[in-house]
């Protein structure tokens, strides 16, 4: 009788086990482009196949919003190189934000996130938008509850983290893993950069190099020229940005404190994170407040629209004359160069698309 009860209990116990799910995460083989620096991974969140896959599902998961209508991809759309074509994103309650959604490109090399850099890790950044009342407006408790009610997600979390007791930290870690795999390195500019820096080119890259025309090279020269467009001070290297916060002279009177609102330091007022210029042609509107709809407007701003202020970046060297004063031909060349930063392989990469 005792044996019978034991076997019956064991049968009940094991028959209730969800699936035959194992926790045996495999390291994700992230290929770092040869002209990029190594990516520093957080020790507590290494990339795994299972974590990246889960993160991809979560990135496109609308259950993370209060009314199941918004996912991360709503404001970071693949068609816009993972940014928002709207000046300001609108949350589930119809409330508009106050800053433009940043493009999600090569985030694995960044040290701070949001325009004002208030998040010091990708994981921390991801914790923000879900409970934010003007964005996805859902408590983490409810978000986790919805995910936990879904056996497929429980299994995915178990495979990724060895537990199906889902929490916000694991959600953030998984999405962060996915975002770290989103590497853009296949634009025409990448070939130009490698060529300029004496790096070997594949036959395919050599063919691309041959297509770079004189106007694109001239635009690149202008981009780098101290007496030309002088863009390179803040946008250079393979990542096409430097790590800093800068007031780029948008306004004489500053209304958005930017970094100053985070640090409380008056010297940081009006400074914002320098964004990458990768895929810049696809990520408009531009600036932290999306005030410019087109690249032409951006170029005009730096050419004639710069406003000196107390915290303007000293690297905006021609601020006192309103900007770098490009003529019409120079503006055209500069724009042609900026178009070389477009990486359609990145935008169309099936690994980054909605898995559903």
């Amino acid at each position: 009788m005792k044996y019978c009860l034991f076997f019956f209990g064991a049968f009940i116990l094991f028959s209730c086990n969800k699936d035959n799910v194992h926790y045996d995460p495999r390291p994700y083989a992230l290929e770092i482009p040869s002209h990029f620096p190594q990516m520093v991974m957080p020790i507590d969140n290494p990339l795994t196949d299972e974590g990246v896959e889960l993160g991809r599902y979560l990135f496109y998961e609308k259950k993370l919003s209060g009314d199941n209508t918004m996912s991360c991809a709503t404001c970071h759309s693949p068609q816009n190189s993972f940014s928002d074509s709207n000046k300001f994103s609108v949350g589930i309650d119809g409330i508009q934000g106050t800053r433009q959604s940043m493009a999600l490109i090569n985030l694995g090399w960044d040290d701070y996130f949001f325009w004002d850099g208030r998040a010091s890790s990708l994981e921390n950044q991801i914790l923000g938008p879900i409970p934010n009342p003007i964005e996805m407006h859902q408590s983490w408790k409810d978000a986790v509850s919805k995910l936990s009610a879904d056996m497929t997600y429980r299994n995915r979390f178990f495979r990724a983290f060895g537990t199906s007791n889902i929490d916000s930290t694991q959600v953030a870690k998984a999405i962060a893993q996915f975002l770290r795999t989103m590497v853009s390195s296949n634009s025409k500019y990448d070939v130009m950069y490698k060529y300029i820096n004496g790096q070997s080119l594949s036959s395919n890259e050599s063919q691309i190099l041959a297509t770079v025309d004189a106007e694109e090279w001239a635009g690149y020269d202008l981009f780098k020229s101290l007496n030309g467009a002088d863009c390179f001070h803040c946008h250079n290297g393979p990542l096409m940005r430097v790590k800093k916060f800068s007031n780029n002279g948008l306004d004489a009177v500053i209304t958005d404190l930017g970094r100053g609102g985070v640090t409380g330091n008056s010297n940081d007022i009006g400074k914002f994170k320098v964004p990458t210029l990768r895929n810049i042609a696809l990520t408009g509107p531009y600036m932290h407040d999306g005030r410019f709809a087109s690249l032409d407007e951006v170029i005009e701003q730096y050419s004639t629209g710069v406003h000196p202020s107390l915290t303007i970046d000293p690297l905006i060297e021609y601020a006192n004359q309103g900007g770098v004063q490009l003529d019409a031909q120079e503006k055209l060349l500069l724009k042609k160069f900026l178009m070389t930063l477009t990486d359609l392989e990145f935008v169309n990469n099936p690994k980054f698309k909605d898995p559903n």
């Binding site: 620096p37 520093v40 820096n197 010297n267 000293p314």
Partner: protein, 249 residues
């Protein structure tokens, strides 16, 4: 009898088990050397973003102060391949390195990035290297190509109109192989700050950079240098003033 044999076997196994355990190795304390640089202005510690006055009466504030020192060694004994001083981000530390200070009674090095390193792929340096582009940040020039050796940026008010708007930017970026300078410190007096840590303290007299008694820099007229040909004279002057202002504290 049987219990005695079992007890004996138990003791034997326990002995073998514990006798095979690794003996604890006492930790070996490593020796470290630090090199610090304290920027000063008119004898006071310089504070970023604070307002100071030049000999001409201009009000200025420094917003960025960085420089590279590479190939630090003493007669062939290497101390460090590269160090980046970044006053805003890392304070007064130029170098923190495992080394025996006794081997470095003198130091020779390069103010800037040695020619042998200056043109290498900035992404290829080890992740922890200050030359890696992730760490170099604004200190790498895409167009040179190479590094900015010395960067001082700030704002000045060169108009005596009673309005402290400090809206006149200045920016000195010294780079390119032509402007490398050697550094040499002899008879170094290392200060012991703990049992295994010694420090060599330097100071950088920022006042002396701009108000040098031999060749002062007038920020009203001389506010921009990127080491290009047309700025050669100012680049050279600034570089020399900087080097002469970096002395043992």
């Amino acid at each position: 009898m049987r219990n005695s044999i079992n007890f004996f076997l138990f003791c034997l196994v326990s002995f073998l088990f514990f006798s095979c355990k690794d003996k604890p190795v006492p930790p070996v304390d490593k020796d470290y050397v630090d090199i610090t640089v304290q920027p000063i202005y008119n004898g006071q510690n310089l504070l970023m973003d604070s307002i100071y006055v030049t000999q001409e009466g201009y009000k200025i504030k420094i917003t960025d102060l960085k420089f590279y020192v590479t190939s630090l060694q003493n007669g062939g004994t290497n101390l460090s391949q590269a160090s980046l001083f970044d006053y805003r981000e890392t304070g007064t530390t130029l170098l923190h390195q495992e080394a025996d200070y006794l081997k470095f009674g003198s130091l020779q090095g390069i103010l800037g990035v040695d020619t042998t390193l200056n043109h290498d792929d900035p992404s290829a340096f080890p992740t922890a290297s200050p030359l890696n582009i992730s760490n170099a940040g604004t200190m790498h020039w895409g167009w040179n190509p190479g590094y900015i050796f010395i960067s001082i940026e700030g704002k000045a008010d060169t108009l005596f109109d009673g309005i402290d708007n400090l809206d006149h930017n200045f920016s000195f970026h010294i780079g390119t192989d032509l402007y490398l300078q050697s550094l040499s410190f002899s008879s170094i007096s290392w200060q012991q700050i703990s049992a295994h840590q010694h420090t060599f303290a330097l100071k950088l007299d920022v006042y002396n950079i701009f108000c040098n008694p031999i060749q002062a820099i007038d920020l009203r007229l001389e506010y921009l240098a990127h080491s290009s040909g047309s700025q050669a004279a100012l680049t050279q002057k600034f570089g020399h003033n900087f080097k002469s202002s970096l002395t043992p504290y």
